[in-house]
């Protein structure tokens, strides 16, 4: 039996290939619920709303696997479309079998990052969130929080600007009909905007200037050598007083960006040495970055670390001992090969460190935002409502550009999307 569905439905395995306890296949797009109900032989409507249903998927009468389907309505799903996740047993043949059934029933195989792309297009995620996600996933870890707090605050701020704009425009358009001008109310709102924007600036400052880059990894992985290369000749200040016993720190400027580079004591053997690293772990903030080094990338960053923050770069040190491809970083996007001797990978590493979240200068944009709001206030007082309105528009535009909703949103987002794997 063939069911006609629009090719708008996409599907892809969301878990890595290979044997595992369970595997997940994601399906998204209008009509997904119908489709899954059909192939699981469920009654129509069983998957409406947020549901969980046990069932069987078979191919021409032959049972492939017993599965659980989780469904989301469009308003609540990741992509902003109807979505189902099928959890089956983690056997490659089963996953492939289910994928085949889906495709035969009209679903298309997703491209890289297509789920996220849809989330972006449906407005569920903004640029910052996507880029944060991308870097998280490049590490191969799906747990942990999305650091969307700052983004949410920006959104809230835009709402506030719009509120003031509505007041101002209403007063220009209908002030005469109401007789009593809203001037006072507008000015009050503007000063509270200014207060709030200063808070945002502080946060952005923390995100950018106060960013720390931690070099971590097992003992003898080459952290100190790397520290010296990165800090060598580039130290702005002499060693920061109060250097902790677990490492040395230095303010360095990489590609015009100031970061605090922190070397840490090496962990021994398996996992993170709690004793030595607890303090470091406590110190790390969501916008900090960690370079996790291990010889030839043998040991990946421990769970405690990768669940805590989005920006982790795994580095395989001493790559000069092996044959390595020069473009490995760009190509697999996962592990950067690095050699302290040949200098391989150092430039890429510097670039990674120096890019701020979202690739934009947050503090700069926010600074301009406040400026515009202060001007708006000045021109309301100075009887030039038309000019005040221009400044409010500019303020809004600045913030939107931070959120990637401005006019030049596309490229950095696209870059992030294409680095994702198909199930995301």
């Amino acid at each position: 039996m063939r069911i006609k569905v629009s090719p708008e439905i996409i599907c892809a395995p969301a878990t890595p290939e290979g044997y595992s306890a369970l595997a997940v296949i994601r399906v998204s797009g209008k009509g997904s619920l119908d489709l899954i109900e059909r192939i699981m032989s469920l009654k129509t409507g069983r998957l409406r709303g947020m549901r969980r249903k046990l069932g069987v998927i078979s191919d021409n009468g032959k049972v492939i696997d017993e599965v659980i389907a989780f469904s989301w309505p469009a308003e609540r799903s990741y992509t902003g479309e109807e979505m189902v996740e099928i959890t089956c047993h983690g056997v490659p043949e089963i996953v492939r079998g289910i994928m085949d059934v889906l495709v035969r029933h009209g679903a298309g195989k997703a491209h890289n990052g297509e789920f996220t792309r849809r989330a972006f297009i449906s407005g569920k995620l903004n640029a910052i969130q996507i880029m944060t996600l991308a870097s998280k996933w490049n590490k191969g870890n799906e747990k942990g929080n999305i650091s969307g707090r700052f983004g949410r605050e920006c959104e809230e701020f835009i709402n506030q600007i719009e509120k003031v704009k509505e007041l101002l425009e209403g007063d220009i358009e209908f002030g005469e009909a109401h007789l009593d001008s809203e001037r006072i109310a507008i000015l009050t709102e503007l000063s509270s905007l200014i207060r709030d924007s200063e808070k945002l600036i502080q946060q952005a400052g923390k995100i950018e200037q106060g960013q720390k880059v931690f070099l971590m990894g097992p003992v003898n992985s080459g952290k100190s050598t790397l520290f010296n290369i990165l800090a060598g000749g580039k130290a702005l200040v002499s060693d920061v007083p109060g250097t902790t016993r677990d490492g040395t720190r230095r303010n360095v400027e990489l590609r015009g960006r100031k970061v605090l580079l922190c070397d840490t004591a090496g962990t021994g053997g398996e996992g993170l040495d709690i004793q030595a690293s607890k303090t470091v772990l406590d110190e790390i903030q969501e916008f900090d970055k960690v370079v996790w080094m291990s010889q030839n990338g043998k040991e990946s960053a421990p769970e405690e670390l990768s669940s805590k923050l989005p920006e982790i770069l795994e580095v395989a040190s001493k790559s000069d001992l092996n044959q390595v491809s020069k473009k490995s970083f760009e190509e697999n996007g996962k592990i950067l090969k690095l050699s302290s001797i040949t200098g391989e990978g150092i430039l890429l590493l510097e670039e990674w460190i120096s890019t701020s979240p979202g690739n934009m200068s947050l503090a700069g944009a926010l600074d301009r935002t406040v400026n515009h709001i202060v001007n708006a206030e000045k021109f309301v007082t100075g009887d030039e409502f038309g000019i005040a309105s221009e400044h409010l528009n500019e303020a809004e535009r600045e913030i939107r550009s931070i959120l990637g909703k401005g006019e030049n949103l596309t490229l950095s987002v696209e870059r992030a999307l294409s680095s994702m794997c198909v199930g995301k």
């Binding site: 708008e8 792309r117 297009i121 109401h178 001008s181 030039e384």
Partner: protein, 615 residues
């Protein structure tokens, strides 16, 4: 010659504000014209309030005047009361508004048509004649078929007009007038997409029954402001407007009868939040607010009728009586005409091209209320453009539309044609992206070029505008060359409170120019930074919009955009992003999707767009 033996270049249907400007524009362009209207005596009637202008609307009237229309002249000649709205909010948002003598206004328009020897036929048009693609003329109830090369339809609120008060409903486009049922039927039969809108008007009150001692008074501002550049003498007659406020009892009266309101029975959420036509609407939307301002405006000089601006209602007569009598000073008020609502058909925006031609025809244009707008000024501006473009077809001239960045006319046409509207469209100043440039003081300079290329300017007007342009250029030169108070004059103009009078004192060479002209150029200087930025944005938007989509062979394959959008785009096959943007039903997210798609293709476009946004 008998009407039926002629073939007119341009036939205009409807002698309202749109029709008048349409027929006059076509006449100025040298076409043979005919105005067909249902009743001669109601040509140029102000169906609603006796006022012209307001915020954005006043600027629009000056634009109409620049294109040599008659609205500004009529408003100047019949004004009883003038106010520059937003006086204290900056010249960029000033809105000139006059109260006119409504009868005198209509008479002025009628006389103006007579003076221009416009041929007028009193009859009801009941159908277009001939094919839909290329009608040969119109069919009238009494006079039969009249042939015309082009046709402008401007029948206002009359297309299957239905009037409502309380639970009664009757036919009519306006109280005491016919409803154009036959014409509407013909339009539907030709499968044009029409929709229904509603609007309303307040009760009129017998003046002597009101105790005006109880009311606040708003005097007219005494300035020598004119809408028209011809600067004819202003009439000496003055009236004051009165002010009062609704109160708790007004609200109670309205609530008591609310269930009998024809408007609220079903359509309440179709009406936008910022634009409330009826009082009962306001009661529903702002239940906590008891006080609403009511302007009491005389319908004419020493007129015995007052218009109650702000108390539009279609509740039953009994309710209106209670509401009116709850107002202070109106305890014994006698209502001469009760308020009512009118429901009528208008053309869906997808039917209308930017020249105001109906897309499916070669030679039929629409203007005014029929395009989904409301307001005299909006109607007149469209009428003028429709008339000129109809004449353009006859003359073999190019079809033109003013640009969005340069006039409210352009903003309005672009809005109604490309976006459409789900409530009667009214012009607001905030609809313009380039508001600091689109001002009332520089309308003559902004639209001179457009008027010239449209070919709608009489010789006299053309000379006058040229002179204005020249003077402004001279003032500009003086400003750039003079130093006053150790400051370049142009920079001096940006100081808060800089005045033309003071400037003329400081620079004697300027004293021969009119203060208004000097002030207008000063404002150009004052706002220049903002205007430039806005124009640059406009430009970069246009450039981004000129992103070429020709590399897309099938829109159906583009995964970044939703299914519906793919179909629409596939059908329309836009060549640029700008064209895509204009297709009805395409949302901003679809455009982003298109950009994403192109970026994903890693074409050379990538680097070019990046360079542009970096600038």
């Amino acid at each position: 010659m008998k009407i039926s033996e002629n073939t007119f270049d341009v036939i205009v249907i409807g002698g309202g504000h749109a029709g008048i400007e349409a027929v006059l524009a076509a006449e100025r362009m040298g076409c043979s014209t005919l105005l067909v209207t249902a009743r001669y005596s109601r040509i140029g009637e102000m169906s609603c309030n006796p006022a012209i202008g307001g915020i954005a609307k006043g600027t629009l009237v000056r634009e109409i005047d620049t294109l040599d229309g008659s609205m500004g002249k009529a408003a100047d000649a019949t004004r009883l009361h003038f106010r520059m709205l937003n006086r204290r909010k900056g010249p960029a948002v000033w809105g000139p508004r006059v109260q006119s003598d409504a009868d005198a206004y209509a008479l002025f328009q009628r006389n103006y048509l007579e003076r221009k020897a416009i041929r007028i036929l009193e009859d009801e048009v009941i159908a277009l004649e001939g094919s839909t693609e290329n009608p040969e003329g119109i069919k009238c109830r009494k006079n039969g078929v009249v042939l015309g090369r082009t046709i402008v339809m401007a029948v206002g609120t009359f297309l299957r007009g239905r009037l409502f008060r309380g639970q009664s409903e009757w036919r009519g486009g306006r109280i005491g007038d016919i409803a154009s049922d036959n014409l509407e039927e013909d339009i539907r039969r030709r499968l044009f997409h029409v929709e229904r809108f509603k609007t309303g008007t307040p009760a009129r009150i017998v003046r002597t029954s009101v105790d005006t001692g109880e009311l606040g008074i708003q005097e007219s501002e005494e300035t020598d402001f004119r809408f028209s550049t011809d600067r004819k003498d202003l009439p000496g007659n003055r009236e004051v407007c009165y002010l009062t406020k609704t109160n708790r009892n007004t609200m109670i009266a309205a609530k008591e009868y609310m269930h009998l309101s024809p408007l609220l029975a079903g359509r309440i959420d179709g009406i936008g939040p910022r634009y409330c036509p009826s009082y009962e609407d306001k009661v529903v939307k702002f239940p906590e607010r008891e006080q609403h301002n009511i302007y009491v405006e005389p319908m004419g000089y020493r007129s015995r009728i007052f218009y109650l601006n702000g108390l539009s209602s279609s509740l039953p007569a009994e309710a209106q009586e209670k509401m009116v009598r709850s107002l202070p000073g109106f305890e014994k008020a006698i209502i001469s005409d009760y308020g009512y609502a009118v429901e009528y058909s208008y053309f869906h925006h997808t039917e209308i091209a930017p020249s105001l031609r109906l897309r499916r025809t070669h030679n039929v244009f629409v203007a005014g209320q029929m395009c989904g707008t409301s307001g005299y000024e909006e109607a007149a501006a469209q009428g003028l453009l429709a008339g000129a473009n109809a004449a353009g077809i006859v003359k073999g001239a190019k079809q033109l539309t003013p640009s969005r960045g340069n006039s409210y006319m352009g903003v309005m046409i672009d809005d109604i044609v490309s976006k459409g509207t789900d409530e009667p469209y009214r012009l607001f100043s905030s609809r313009a992206e380039n508001r600091l440039h689109i001002r009332q003081d520089n309308a003559d300079r902004r639209l001179y070029e457009f008027g010239k290329s449209l070919g709608v300017l009489s010789e006299g007007k053309s000379l006058l505008l040229e002179l204005n342009m020249k003077e402004a250029a001279e003032i500009e030169t003086v400003l750039s060359e003079s130093i006053i108070e150790r400051c370049q004059a142009a920079i001096w103009c940006r100081r808060p409170g800089a005045e033309a009078e003071r400037l003329a004192e400081l620079i004697p060479t300027l004293s021969s120019f009119s203060r208004d002209r000097i002030f207008s150029v000063m404002l150009d200087e004052k706002y220049s930074g903002y205007i430039r930025r806005s124009m640059k944005r406009d430009e970069s938007r246009r450039r981004a919009s000129s992103v070429n989509l020709s590399s897309i062979t099938s829109y159906m394959e583009i995964k970044e955009i939703c299914w519906e959008a793919r179909e629409v785009l596939e059908k329309a096959k836009p060549r640029t992003l700008a064209e895509a943007e204009r297709i009805p039903g395409i949302r901003p997210t679809d455009l982003e999707g298109l950009l994403l798609h192109l970026a994903g293709k890693r074409s050379t476009w990538n680097s070019s767009i990046k360079k542009e946004t970096d600038q």
